[in-house]
């Protein structure tokens, strides 16, 4: 239960930063933390079945659920893809408008017409 509460706090922090932090770079960090919180939640859920690694040589009764682990593998790879592409976009915006703050960027965009 403690681990779930900690994950909830992590989720709360990232959700708050994702919505209210004006810096686009910190929004990407928040997205990463959100991703990790969800991944850890799934792993915790799968580990409620047992504590042994998912190998056919282990006894099946004490094994964790391998399905969630395989799913989270996909989630991590997609997370890396999203992070790299959004980092490239945000750095591009910064080189053009000189700021990570989306309010500043929006103002500059309005000036550009």
């Amino acid at each position: 239960m403690t681990s779930r509460l900690l994950l909830l706090i992590l989720f709360f922090i990232s959700l708050h930063a994702l919505i209210f932090n004006p810096s686009l770079m910190k929004k990407i960090f928040a997205l990463n933390i959100l991703n990790s919180a969800i991944v850890l939640l799934f792993i915790t859920q799968g580990a409620s079945l047992g504590s042994r690694a998912p190998f056919t040589t282990e006894s099946p009764d004490q094994m964790v659920d391998p399905v969630v682990q395989a799913l989270m593998l996909t989630a991590i790879v997609i997370g890396v893809c999203v992070t790299s592409f959004s980092l490239a976009l945000v750095v591009h915006l910064h080189s053009r408008y000189g700021s990570f703050d989306y309010r500043h960027i929006r103002k500059e965009l309005a000036n550009d017409g």
């Binding site: 790299s84 592409f85 591009h92």
Partner: protein, 243 residues
């Protein structure tokens, strides 16, 4: 743009949080059916002792093919945006303080380019690369596999790049080689997916007598592809000056 006060921010996040609260704190017992079936059959059906490998290379290999395509698309998007950035900033070229690739005479004055970095990365790089290949090749027997080992290989390559003192001349060759590895690994993965169609009549079915060979081959292709792809992404982001 309206600025939210701190209590309002916390209240709004809290309301959103309440939506997810049941997800995090549910006491529902997790179903064991899938685990029991997989623990029973995964080894004999796919030839992988590691059940996670058995799932993503055996039962869900088609999904893994799509995942590598997502990685390829993200890589090409990142590379194109970064190269656009380089072209724009070419005329007003200011010294980038975070650039690791400096010539020898400038390096003495650079605070990030220390001897420690150079010595440590040069020595650790090959060991990490070896470990990465071990994790890829043993993905069906031990914890690990193509994606995990590929990430380790990528960190080894990045260590090489950081530790290489003569990078300006070689970086173009390195980049071309990594591109070549990335695309040929993807081609090999596609071939490994399609060749069984003509032998067994099914896509991504194992055409060999021994089941392990096919899993090892798929793991190797994925490992090479992920390693080359992620290291390319990182290298293109590290070096902003030399195109």
């Amino acid at each position: 743009m309206r600025k939210w006060s701190v209590p309002a921010q916390i209240a709004i996040s809290f309301v959103l949080l309440l939506l997810f609260l049941p997800l995090f704190l549910s006491q529902e017992s997790w179903p064991t059916t899938a685990r029991d079936i997989l623990a029973e059959d995964a080894g004999t059906q796919t030839g992988a002792e590691n059940i996670v490998s058995a799932i993503y290379l055996g039962y869900r290999a088609f999904d893994t093919l799509g995942e590598t395509i997502v990685l390829l698309i993200a890589l090409s998007g990142t590379m194109s945006v970064v190269s656009l950035l380089k072209r724009n900033s070419e005329d007003e070229r200011t010294p980038v303080s975070l650039d690791f690739s400096l010539e020898e005479e400038k390096r003495a004055h650079h605070r990030l380019r220390t001897h420690l970095l150079e010595v440590v990365t040069g020595k650790i790089g090959p060991i990490i690369l070896l470990f990465g290949f071990y994790v890829v090749m043993n993905g069906h027997l031990s914890p690990g596999g193509g994606f995990q080992g590929g990430a380790i290989i990528a960190s080894g390559i990045i260590f090489f790049v950081l530790g290489n003192p003569h990078r300006r001349e070689e970086s173009e060759i390195q980049r071309t080689t990594l591109h070549l590895i990335e695309s040929s690994a993807f081609l090999l993965f596609l071939l490994a997916a399609l060749v069984p169609l003509f032998i067994t009549g099914e896509v991504l079915a194992n055409p060999f007598e021994s089941k392990e060979v096919y899993i090892i081959a798929l793991n190797t292709f994925i490992g090479l592809k992920v390693g080359a792809g992620i290291s390319l992404m990182c290298i293109s982001m590290i070096e902003r000056r030399n195109v």
